[in-house]
């Protein structure tokens, strides 16, 4: 009886030990990748204009939020999908002058849709929360049942500089293009205030007709473009990372500052010119010596 009790104890001990050994890397990985302990994972500041879509044309409905705070939170993880809730907070305005603003390109719309002094406050502390289900391996998102494509406000799988060219992403039905130099991602240098000084962060640009973002691992430093908010409505966003996140960005700021390459045709030409000069000088010296002799 005593023996069997000890035997059971030892089995229990080994079971606990083995589960710890096998589970620890998984838990560490999850903790590293998505930090479930901290619910807020990213914060932006920016302006947002609400739009409807009619075919390829986006039309402002006259509502906008100035200096919005956009907070990305993690909700839960289920079968390879993670819920990222996006909370947009700020004063909501309506401007009849904006209601006629329309176009198909986000950067033209951003530039031409001005509000007027007639804009009126609708809600002083407007809050809109949207929950996107995001695939943890390819970052594809759904809003309700509608497929969005690449989720632009936070990238769940870590995109390192070296593996950035391996992935192809689609956003709102169109492939995202990675800005490259000689086949490598082109580093963009962004200066941000950091403590009493400033820091230079390096990110890489993905864009298409609908969005333009500059990414450092999980974190876009800026996002311009259309964000689907459901019911054929879109938020035309102009967001930059909030200064409170710069410490996090500084800790992962390991993308290179520039792409370097060698033009081997020019190297060949250079070597040929140098060789010709050497041969020429040698010939002149020989002729000079012969002449002396």
């Amino acid at each position: 009886m005593l023996l069997s009790k000890d035997f059971l104890k030892s089995i229990l001990f080994f079971a606990m030990l083995s589960s710890l050994i096998f589970l620890t890397p998984t838990l560490t990985l999850l903790a590293h990748e998505i930090k479930p302990s901290s619910r807020t994972i990213y914060v932006y500041k920016g302006d947002i204009l609400f739009m409807k879509r009619n075919g390829s044309v986006f039309i402002s409905d006259g509502f906008y939020i100035l200096s919005a705070s956009v907070v990305v939170n993690i909700s839960n993880i289920k079968r390879g999908l993670i819920n990222l809730s996006v909370s947009i907070n700020g004063p909501l305005y309506y401007d009849p002058a904006l209601a006629n603003c329309s176009g198909s390109s986000f950067n033209v719309l951003l530039e031409t849709c001005d509000s007027s002094p007639l804009a009126r406050l609708v809600n002083e502390s407007y809050r809109l929360t949207l929950t996107y289900s995001v695939n943890v391996s390819n970052n594809y998102a759904w809003l309700g049942n509608r497929f969005v494509g690449f989720f632009p406000l936070y990238v769940v799988p870590d995109i390192g500089y070296d593996n950035a060219t391996r992935f192809k992403y689609v956003y709102l039905g169109e492939e995202l293009t990675l800005l490259t130099v000689h086949g490598k991602p082109a580093p963009v240098r962004v200066k941000k205030p950091y403590g009493s000084s400033s820091i230079e962060l390096h990110c890489i640009v993905y864009n298409n007709t609908y969005v333009d973002l500059c990414l450092l691992h999980h974190y876009p430093l800026y996002v311009w473009g259309f964000l689907p908010i459901g019911d054929n409505r879109f938020a035309l966003v102009y967001l930059e990372v909030d200064d409170s996140m710069v410490g996090v960005l500084a800790s992962v700021n390991d993308y290179p500052a520039s792409v370097e390459y060698v033009d081997y045709v020019r190297v060949g030409l250079l070597v040929s010119v140098v060789a010709l000069i050497i041969v020429g000088v040698y010939g002149v010296v020989r002729r000079f010596r012969r002449g002396k002799g």
């Binding site: 302006d47 001005d114 082109a186 963009v188 520039s258 033009d263």
Partner: protein
Amino acid sequence: MFAPETNIKKATAQNVILLDYSIGGNGYHGSSGTVSLTVSSQGALFTFSYTVNGIDAYDLAGSVLTGVYDSGIHQFIAFGKGYNYRTRSWTSFTHFESYKISYYYGTLSGVYIDRSSCNSIGYAKVEARGSELFRVEHSTWWGAKTSVHYDYISLTVSSLVSCSTLP
């Protein structure tokens, strides 16, 4: 964001008021020096000077936020914005080294007015956000070796105006 040495020289339209400006740049070769940049908004021209740490090759971008003030009714009747940029490339005398700097793209968002603080402090915020991207190519050994990167310059402009000056 990064305090520039700026000097406003002139405004050609009297009823257009400069509310805020933003200017930024990067210099790459040569001694530090002052570069001027002119930005237009609502028919007015504003000239700024900016010190770059490398006067031979640089990128520079600036934006302004303006308001058209009607002194008869003591109100702003419109707000506007504008941006401009300059680049300068450089090649050494022997062509051994060069900097080629070009504008890639950029934008300045619409002007938005935030009246939410009118009741508390009596001022409203007027704002436009913008940014510019420049391609910087540095070559040595007569173009045999090259490094490339992009510079991002943030150009957000923001100002507080008295709510009594709004319609």
